[in-house]
């Protein structure tokens, strides 16, 4: 395997970005990531992006956003209708081929123009489930009740996860939900989607993320402490909810094993857990212990930007490795209802 590292990251998240189109708000994010390592678009070997036109209802928005990279003369690029973490995976594979040394990855989501809960119903089984229009919160609540009633987790443990997310997010200016709340205050919140309370649900955001990857000596030249990708893997569970154990995640567990999570101590983990229940499932599936700081950014509970939240987890973990806040980190991305698909990435500093 070729050594590939995250050498630069940038992001923007806020509750709504009404005044700017996707390309308008992504240009400064993309520029920031490239300029921090002194690269222009024409220096970069491959560019890959992730987004979904369904979020803002803007057909071919990804084609317009490519203009923001500066693709003249034409660049080598690709796009996934997935969270940007999967775009990063494609770029990592391309770097493994050995013919390029740098890659640029970005993704973005602007959910505020639509009703995200309804938009996400369209990702369900089109014959048996989508025609009933169950919303995303309802599907998660079905899993949450099973977890609580089967003793996998208690409501108080979920409130503790929400409390920690708010505490960490208080010092993250990219987070949307930053007000600290005690466990008791959270337990006293009204139930929004029985049994889930407001703090169990994600704070929806508009925004995006950009990441520069580089291989070997180029990474060392561009960054004082590159965040080396030591393992990366992604897996998917079945689409049919009825055949899945919604209280656990077999795909996250497998991806974690193949990425080599358990090979050594993990200092910090950024988990793409939009719900408190998803964080509990992921912590178990990846075998993380009390030694690991979970979601020091506040995680996706504190700011959930569809299509970018997973890439932002990788960016947050890499940024901390580069800053020397840890030596070994796990970054995780998920997609689909109830953590259907999971990507796990292990990052290390020298």
């Amino acid at each position: 395997m070729r050594d590939v590292a995250v050498v630069s990251v940038a992001q923007r998240q806020q509750a709504t970005i009404a005044g700017e189109s996707e390309v308008e708000f992504m240009i400064p994010v993309m520029q920031q990531a490239k300029e921090a390592v002194g690269l222009t678009q024409q220096d970069i070997g491959f560019t890959c992006s992730g987004s979904s036109d369904f979020l803002a209802g803007q057909a071919f928005s990804f084609v317009m956003t490519i203009d923001g990279t500066g693709p003249v003369p034409p660049i080598s690029e690709s796009h996934v209708e997935q969270d940007g973490a999967w775009a990063l995976y494609e770029a990592w594979v391309k770097l493994q081929c050995g013919d390029i040394d740098t890659a640029f990855v970005y993704s973005y989501g602007k959910s505020s123009p639509g009703s995200l809960r309804d938009v996400l119903a369209t990702q369900m089984d089109p014959y048996y489930v989508a025609p009933l229009w169950p919303d995303a919160f309802a599907i998660e609540a079905l899993a949450a009740r099973q977890m609580i009633e089967s003793g996998v987790v208690t409501e108080r443990q979920l409130a503790e996860i929400a409390h920690r997310s708010r505490m960490h997010a208080a010092s993250n200016h990219h987070a949307v939900r930053r007000r600290e709340k005690s466990v008791d205050e959270i337990m006293a919140e009204e139930v929004v989607m029985d049994p889930l309370r407001r703090s169990d649900l994600p704070a929806s955001a508009d925004g995006g993320c950009a990441v520069v990857l580089a291989a070997g000596d180029v990474a060392r030249r561009l960054c004082e402490r590159p965040a080396w990708i030591r393992g990366i893997d992604h897996r998917s569970d079945a689409h049919t909810l009825g055949v899945r154990d919604l209280t656990a995640s077999m795909s996250a567990e497998l991806a974690g094993q193949h990425a080599g999570v358990s090979r050594d101590k993990i200092d910090l983990a950024e988990l793409h857990a939009p719900f408190t229940t998803s964080e509990h499932i992921l912590t178990n599936a990846l075998g993380l212990s009390d030694e690991t700081v979970i979601n020091p950014s506040g995680g996706a509970l504190a700011a959930h930007t569809m299509m970018a939240s997973g890439l932002i987890r990788i960016a947050e973990a890499a940024r901390r490795i580069t800053a020397g806040e840890g030596d070994r980190a796990v970054a995780h991305a998920s997609s689909g209802p109830c953590l259907q698909q999971n990507l796990v990435c292990v990052l290390e500093g020298d």
Binding site: S21, P113, P126, L132, H239, V243
Partner: protein, 327 residues
């Protein structure tokens, strides 16, 4: 000029009719007959609703079995007021329900008055709609039932087997075009065409999208462009388009480069026979009457010849290209 960003309602509709295949078709045909069909999996258990393949090992499944119309709630949540597209006309609980004789639960609604009437493990029974078409919403929902009720099967006449199913999608948005296009649309109301200038090369792009693709930078300067230019390329359409009944073939669409712009933009060529249109022909915008102007690109009805001498095209290979400018 107001800087406020524009918004407009936007509705996306996908009137999908999906083909079902044999297994899903059999299940939906069963619904028409008020019976529930599952399929036996490789390990002998029964999957309901059925799939053509086993989700565990991808093996083909084809042994259809009838399952019960009563079942047990394995988990639930309360939905409150149904949203417009949810096919239920009262508050309801979402539930996963394992039908008697099936080994996997299915998602549907339980029709009760409130969350207090719901519990995991409760027994429920299908309530059928009277008018059934072979759709998952032929099940009006499930209702509580005491203990194990002997189901009285609705024996029905043979029905035509279901081979396709309507699954329309409708999503409503409050669309915002962003800051640059908002300015462009506002200016249109005053019969003004705006472009934006690349901060590095000085090239002018129209419509303005707030980005210079040449530099990969935000544009900062808006430029008023004249409503005259030349035709860089064109085509003649000779077949009607369903979505544009107002256009009668043959008609001419052109790529018009305005004086001072670095790229062309699309318009109709009008008030001239399509056969007379040429590359290099000078054209001018024909605007809607002043009292019909809106914040819309449709204010330009089309482009008509000015009668000036044609622009000489020195290099046909460069048509439609944006060069790297003089950075």
């Amino acid at each position: 000029m107001s800087d406020e960003v524009l918004t407009a309602p936007l509705v996306l509709e996908y009137p999908f009719t999906r083909t079902t295949g044999a297994i899903i078709g059999a299940f939906l045909t069963g619904l028409k007959q008020a019976t529930m069909i599952g399929v036996r999996r490789s390990d002998g258990s029964v999957l309901c609703p059925p799939l053509e393949y086993d989700p565990a090992d991808a093996s083909d499944l084809d042994e259809l079995v009838e399952v019960g119309q009563t079942g047990t709630v394995t988990t639930w949540t309360w939905n409150g007021a149904p949203r417009p597209q949810q096919p239920f006309d009262q508050d309801f609980a979402w539930a996963m329900i394992k039908l008697d004789g099936a080994d996997t639960p299915m998602l549907h609604a339980v029709l009760v008055d409130g969350a207090a009437d719901m519990s995991t493990g409760m027994r429920v029974q299908i309530k059928w709609r009277d008018d059934r078409e072979g759709h998952i919403a032929d099940i009006a929902g499930f209702v509580p039932v005491d203990g194990t009720v002997a189901v009285s099967w609705v024996s029905s006449e043979p029905v035509e087997s279901v081979q396709s199913v309507r699954t329309p999608i409708r999503i409503e948005y409050t669309y915002t075009p962003g800051s640059s296009l908002s300015q462009y649309l506002r200016a249109m109301q005053d019969k003004t065409i705006l472009g934006d200038r690349c901060p590095d090369t000085g090239q002018v792009f129209v419509p303005p999208r707030g980005v210079s693709p040449v530099a990969g930078k935000r544009t900062t300067e808006m430029v008023e462009l004249p409503d005259v230019g030349y035709i860089e390329s064109f085509n003649i359409t000779r077949v009607p388009i369903k979505m544009r009944p107002d256009l009668t073939p043959p008609y001419c669409s052109a790529w018009v480069v305005l004086d001072g712009a670095s790229v062309g933009f699309m318009g109709l060529v009008i008030n001239v026979a399509p056969e007379a249109v040429r590359i290099g022909m000078r054209v001018r915008a024909v605007w809607k009457p002043d009292d019909e102007l809106e914040m819309s690109a449709t204010n330009i009805l089309g482009w008509e010849p000015t009668g000036e001498d044609d622009v000489e095209i020195a290099d046909y290979a460069r048509i439609g290209r944006v060069d790297g400018g003089s950075r």
